[in-house]
């Protein structure tokens, strides 16, 4: 039996309801919240500020540091707080995805700290995190080339689906589930592409196409959040 209907009744190319908000953490230089349905990520940006220890400084460009963490109450079974193998990996890939859009040449010898916290998790946390971080960086007034939008594409059995949830990720029907988180800049460049599972090359092409389309929707949500700032604060 192939996967004909999604668990939560969405269309195959439909994302969950998205929500974005700017300026939720008062003491940060910039902050944002991003929701994919019941996956909630917040991001805070501090800096640019002097980098210590000094041997980490780069005199030709700034340094971007990214820290991703899932809070202990974000999942059903309490997550042990603190960094883990998984969170370190996601911190690193988020850092790479974001460093390609931040104009670090403008801030030599300094560091920009990005903290991503997952308040509630139901798959696609790294995508929500990157979306929130991009918004937070923009609202912090950091010099940027463009925005980045991220979405996870999956392959359940033989169907390409957009924005997986936990139940779909764990699906074992037919060919099983494949999770492909990806991030695109507005101009369509790939900043992040990970793959967990098995997929045929032609299907991957199809998945990237679907991801690009979904990221446009994400971008519109991000844009709306940033444009709605006037009159506030």
């Amino acid at each position: 039996m192939s996967y004909t209907k999604r668990v939560d009744g969405r269309k195959f190319d439909e994302t969950r309801e998205m929500e974005a908000k700017i300026g939720i953490i008062k003491n940060a230089g910039g902050s944002a919240l991003f929701k994919f349905g019941d996956t909630i990520a917040i991001a805070a940006v501090y800096g640019p500020k002097p980098l210590h220890p000094q041997h980490l400084q780069n005199p030709s460009k700034g340094v971007l540091r990214c820290n991703y963490d899932m809070l202990s109450f974000s999942v059903t079974e309490r997550k042990r707080p603190g960094p883990s193998r998984r969170s370190q990996e996601i911190s690193k890939v988020s850092e790479w995805a974001l460093s390609s859009i931040v104009d670090l040449d403008a801030y030599p010898n300094t560091v920009v700290d990005v903290h991503i916290m997952i308040l509630q998790a139901n798959a696609s946390t790294r995508c929500a995190g990157i979306n929130a971080a991009a918004l937070a960086l923009a609202s912090a007034g950091v010099s940027m080339k463009e925005l980045v939008s991220s979405v996870s594409i999956g392959k359940i059995d033989d169907k390409i689906v957009v924005d997986l949830i936990k139940e779909e990720e764990d699906c074992e029907e037919g060919e099983g589930a494949t999770d492909i988180p990806m991030a695109f800049t507005k101009s369509g460049k790939i900043c992040l592409l990970q793959l967990d599972g098995k997929i045929r090359p032609e299907e991957l092409k199809e998945a990237i196409k679907a991801g690009k389309k979904a990221c446009k929707e994400v971008y519109n949500v991000q844009k709306k959040a940033l444009k709605g700032v006037e009159g506030k604060d």
Partner: protein
């Protein structure tokens, strides 16, 4: 060059800076990074923008000013980046054998050399400025990674009494107002001396603590209502009508 600068009054310089930063009465829209603001060869990319083929593209988040040929971004947020000529307020964090290190709320440390002190110095540097002192100073030079300060101008130097408040450095032009109108209004209505540093540090000193608090409230009012047009009149009303809103 230094002697020439010495003659200038601080107030004049504040006005000069303010004129450059003054927000013109033009339709401004929020621009987001990577978004094309205007298209056409006749426009020139200014602060916070870059050219991509025909388009002028925003390089940071802020209000896009398209009133002239030069398109630029007026930032709404972001850390203070020092520029030569800025009047700022900083805290002395350390003394060295030939000067002071000053925290100016910027990504880089600033240095005030003894040679830029207002007169000849003999003996222990801490007798003049000690750690923790607030000083009003001017950015003299911004090089690759070091910022040099000077206090060789009238009105600069150690701030002995009064209070310090911190505001968003991007709102400083609003607090000063066109040709210093806003800050003059606040000074006149509260009998306080006020120095607004370009780095968002504001020093208020009055005879009574009530006056200082009133000046603080007025400045916070301006910062919070910075989007409203005709703000100077609003502040006048605010002073006349007590503390409504």
């Amino acid at each position: 060059m230094i002697a020439k600068e010495e003659n200038k009054e601080v107030k004049e310089e504040i006005e000069e800076i303010e004129e450059n930063n003054e927000i013109k009465e033009a339709k401004r829209e929020i621009a987001i990074p990577g978004e094309a603001i205007v298209s056409g060869k006749e426009y020139l990319p200014g602060d916070g923008t870059r050219r991509e083929n025909e388009d002028i593209v925003a390089g940071r988040f802020g209000l896009a000013d398209t009133s002239g040929r030069l398109v630029r971004i007026i930032p709404l947020s972001g850390i203070y980046m020092p520029r030569a000529g800025n009047i700022i307020i900083g805290i002395v964090t350390d003394t060295t054998f030939n000067g002071w290190l000053v925290d100016i709320k910027a990504p880089y440390n600033a240095f005030l050399p003894v040679s830029e002190f207002s007169r000849y110095i003999k003996g222990d540097l801490t007798e003049y400025y000690d750690i923790g002192d607030m000083i009003a100073c001017k950015v003299f030079n911004v090089k690759h990674r070091s910022i040099d300060l000077t206090v060789k101008s009238r009105g600069l130097g150690k701030l002995e009494k009064g209070m310090i408040i911190y505001i968003n450095s991007n709102k400083v032009p609003r607090v000063i107002g066109r040709e210093g109108s806003m800050i003059k209004l606040i000074k006149d209505n509260t009998n306080c001396e006020i120095i607004v540093g370009q780095n968002g540090v504001v020093w208020i000193s009055g005879n009574k603590i009530e006056d200082e608090l009133k000046a603080k409230d007025a400045i916070m009012f301006v910062v919070n209502k910075s989007f409203i047009e005709g703000l100077t009149d609003k502040v006048k009303e605010w002073f006349d009508g007590g503390k409504e809103k």
